[in-house]
């Protein structure tokens, strides 16, 4: 039966994450953006919420409660706090979920318990390439078999690269077929250059150059039963849905600031929110945010049902990224000059929202 009510358990998670996002993440957001650095203590405390470990299989210490719907509910709340910190909180998923889904037994045993332990361990995915014509299913980065090893060559960008990252899942083409490879962060031939981006400044991302990087054959995701484009398609769809959820969170945050400001700010003797030009703009924002959220839920639900959700994920992402950008821009506009200065958050939401068209597939739910 069609219904739009989260379960009690999901609602509890939403409430908990919302509280954390408001009390901890939001408060650290501006400073983190200015410093272009993540607040380590917030990430440690976020880890205690167990969002990552609860989604991993019980045999590896996880909660065994994987659900894309729960994932998008939590992702929206985290991003409602702050997008950069939300992406960092969820970054372990970049490694842990592809391994859980497609990894060999050895890979699962080796990696998953490290994400379910007491300490926060960031993850990383090297998918996007610094080319306008980048196609995730046909990367220019190559993997060539050489005896018992693979040799990786190519260039990646927008690779999350937090302090303490131990390995990165590199997406590369082997004989024209796309595959994933688990590469240690300090592998010889790997060089990382910190990027400076328009938004999500607090999240350290790098351009990753791979020159003759050698990894053992067992580093290929899934080893002998390598999933190829099945894994990458899964990563892409999860990423689209997770990012769409984050986009809804960013839009909601920007909307709330605009709404509250409009009720405070007086012109000609009355709050600007009493003017239809502003009030209708706010109404449209609220409508669009709710519409985008429902599309995200539908795509996530479809994934949980085990169906191919490519169309729904694409549509949800398309809508959510448009809405986030329009709402963030609208929020800057409602605040006027105050929206443009860094004392207020809308300018940051606008920079962050612009990124949703670029962050292809940060695979997070």
């Amino acid at each position: 039966m069609i219904d739009f009510e989260p379960t009690e358990e999901q609602q509890l998670i939403v409430d908990t994450v919302r509280q954390f996002a408001t009390n901890e993440i939001r408060k650290a957001a501006r400073e983190a953006d200015e410093a272009a650095a993540l607040p380590a203590s917030v990430l440690e405390r976020a880890h205690e919420l167990g969002l990552v470990s609860s989604a991993l299989p019980e045999v590896y210490g996880g909660g065994g409660a994987r659900s894309a719907v729960t994932g998008v509910l939590a992702a929206e709340e985290l991003a409602h706090g702050d997008l950069a910190i939300a992406l960092a909180v969820l970054s372990p998923m970049l490694l842990a979920l592809p391994i859980a889904d497609f990894g060999s037994e050895e890979q699962k045993k080796g990696w998953l318990p490290r994400f379910t332990g007491d300490r926060y361990l960031p993850g990383s995915l090297a998918l996007v390439e610094p080319a306008f014509r980048f196609d995730p299913l046909h990367p220019a980065t190559t993997a060539k078999r050489d005896g018992r090893e693979y040799v990786l060559d190519g260039a990646k960008c927008f690779v999350p690269w937090q302090n303490g990252v131990e390995a990165v899942l590199v997406i590369a083409a082997e004989d024209g077929r796309v595959q994933g490879f688990l590469v240690p962060h300090d592998a010889p031939g790997l060089s990382a250059t910190r990027e400076k981006n328009l938004g999500v400044r607090a999240l350290p991302t790098v351009e990753l150059e791979l020159r003759g990087v050698r990894v053992p054959a067992s580093a290929k995701l899934g080893s002998e039963s390598a999933p190829g484009d099945t894994a990458v398609r899964g990563i892409l769809n999860r990423g689209r849905v997770a990012l769409a959820a984050c986009a809804v969170g960013v839009a909601r945050a920007a909307f709330e600031i605009a709404r509250d400001y409009a009720k405070e700010r007086q012109t000609f003797g009355a709050p600007i929110a009493t003017r239809q030009a502003i009030a209708f703009k706010l109404a449209d924002m609220a409508i669009e945010i709710d519409g985008a959220r429902l599309l995200v839920w539908e795509a996530a639900w479809k994934m949980d049902e085990g169906h191919d959700a490519t169309r729904e994920a694409t549509i949800a992402r398309h809508q959510a990224q448009r809405v986030a950008l329009e709402v963030a821009d609208g929020a800057v506009q409602v605040l006027g000059g105050h929206g443009y200065i860094r004392e207020y958050l809308p300018e940051m939401h606008l920079r962050n929202a612009r990124g949703f068209s670029t962050f292809e597939a940060l695979s997070l739910v």
């Binding site: 999901q10 009030a279 109404a283 292809e360």
Partner: protein, 405 residues
């Protein structure tokens, strides 16, 4: 409950049944009744009346409730929105009776719809000088002994001709007992078909939904029994929206139920155009690559994805508003969100379809141009885009109607 987009088997069965009706009974005559405006589509009307009197027995078991009603409306309006409005039923007049009427009134006005010949109900709110601002209504109702006497002019009354002139039908008329009381003085009255003093003086010629009659009704000393008032006759001057009165508040509450249906109707029209466009593109060998990188998408692929996203967002907002009714939750914010989104989305979607289809889209050889004309009404009736924005704005800002006008 849990978040789910899986329709109940009942909904699937209903969707199939109404889709077949739309395809077989509505599409073939859609153009005819668009061109022969004001002509009653009797064959279709009788078919739907018979269908409605013999409900299929298979629709038992778990149900999506009001969402199923929305799905049905979507399917039928995929067939033809004008003909949908012609289906003999108590329609909005019935919603008003159901929302604000006593059991006796429900039995008296709605039971006739269970038998006999086709009948229609209608709602008469709008006046030449009062549309969205329903409190500005000038039509008066005065008690004279055991009867109410109505005087005034009503326009844009959907199915007004059929409801006022065909036996067994009725028109729910909004009128004021006391103009100085504003909203508090507004009440609704049931005027049975053929009541002396209720006159059909004109039918609108419209941009679209031409198969639906849109009447101008004049009330000249129109007398109805005292028992035809819906709700109480008490005038609440303070704040009628807060009071327990079923008058104005009850009448407004019918919108909470009707707006999701109108939104679903809109989605049906938009889907008709989008389905046609996608089929046409497929015939031409153009497929929509949902997993292609953004830079590889053609302008048409991008447009279609955008149209699909807009339509589905409208549909889901509609279902959410409907589902809240099933859960007994106040849904006036969500109903207005759905209505505002759906009306505008399908207005744009159908216009885009005409654009993409080029000369074919502009030609009356196919129905896309008609759907574009039909779609626009959804942005206007049952509360314009702007009035729904206003309602949403008041709710999200926590402003009263006097604080945000």
């Amino acid at each position: 409950m849990a978040i789910s987009f899986e329709p109940a088997p009942n909904t699937v069965a209903a969707r199939e049944m109404y889709h077949r009706i739309a395809r077989e009974q509505m599409r073939p005559v859609a153009r005819k009744y668009d061109e022969q405006e004001h002509e009653m589509p009797w064959e279709f009307v009788r078919f739907m009346w018979e269908k409605g009197r013999s409900p299929p027995g298979s629709f038992t078991g778990p149900s999506d409730g009001f969402v199923q009603v929305c799905v049905q409306a979507e399917e039928l309006c995929w067939g033809d929105a004008g003909l949908y409005l012609r289906i003999p039923s108590p329609a909005l007049g019935g919603s008003a009776v159901a929302a604000a009427g006593t059991n006796e009134q429900k039995a008296r006005f709605l039971n006739p719809f269970r038998e006999g010949a086709p009948k229609w109900g209608a709602m008469a709110i709008t006046e030449p000088q009062a549309g969205s601002d329903a409190a500005a209504i000038q039509t008066t109702a005065q008690l004279d002994g055991e009867e109410w006497v109505l005087n005034g002019t009503k326009i844009f009354c959907t199915s007004g001709e059929a409801a006022a002139t065909i036996d067994g039908g009725f028109v729910v008329v909004w009128a004021t007992l006391d103009k100085s009381a504003g909203r508090g003085g507004i009440k609704s009255f049931v005027v049975p078909a053929k009541t002396p003093g209720m006159k059909l003086v004109g039918l609108e010629r419209k941009l679209g939904i031409r198969a639906s009659d849109t009447a101008t009704l004049v009330f000249e000393n129109c007398r109805i029994p005292k028992e035809n008032l819906l709700g109480s006759a008490e005038i609440k001057k303070a704040n009628p929206m807060q009071a327990g009165d079923k008058g104005f508040k009850g009448a407004m509450a019918t919108f909470d139920a009707s707006r999701p249906i109108v939104a679903a109707m809109a989605v049906g029209v938009g889907r008709a155009a989008l389905d046609f466009l996608k089929e046409e593109l497929e015939r031409e060998g153009v497929s929509i690559r949902y997993d292609a990188p953004a830079h590889e998408r053609t302008a048409i692929e991008r447009d279609v994805i955008d149209m699909e996203a807009e339509l589905q967002a409208a549909r889901l907002l509609t279902w959410r508003a409907a589902k809240m009714m099933d859960h007994g939750k106040r849904n006036n914010l969500e109903a207005s969100m759905a209505k505002a989104k759906a009306g505008l989305a399908v207005t744009k979607i159908t216009q885009k379809a005409v654009e993409i289809l080029g000369p074919l889209g502009y030609s009356q050889k196919i129905l896309v141009e008609k759907w574009m004309r039909d779609a626009k009404i959804n942005d206007i009736y049952e509360g314009t885009q702007q009035i729904n924005q206003l309602i949403v704005a008041r709710r999200i800002l926590d402003y009263s109607s006097s604080m945000l006008r």
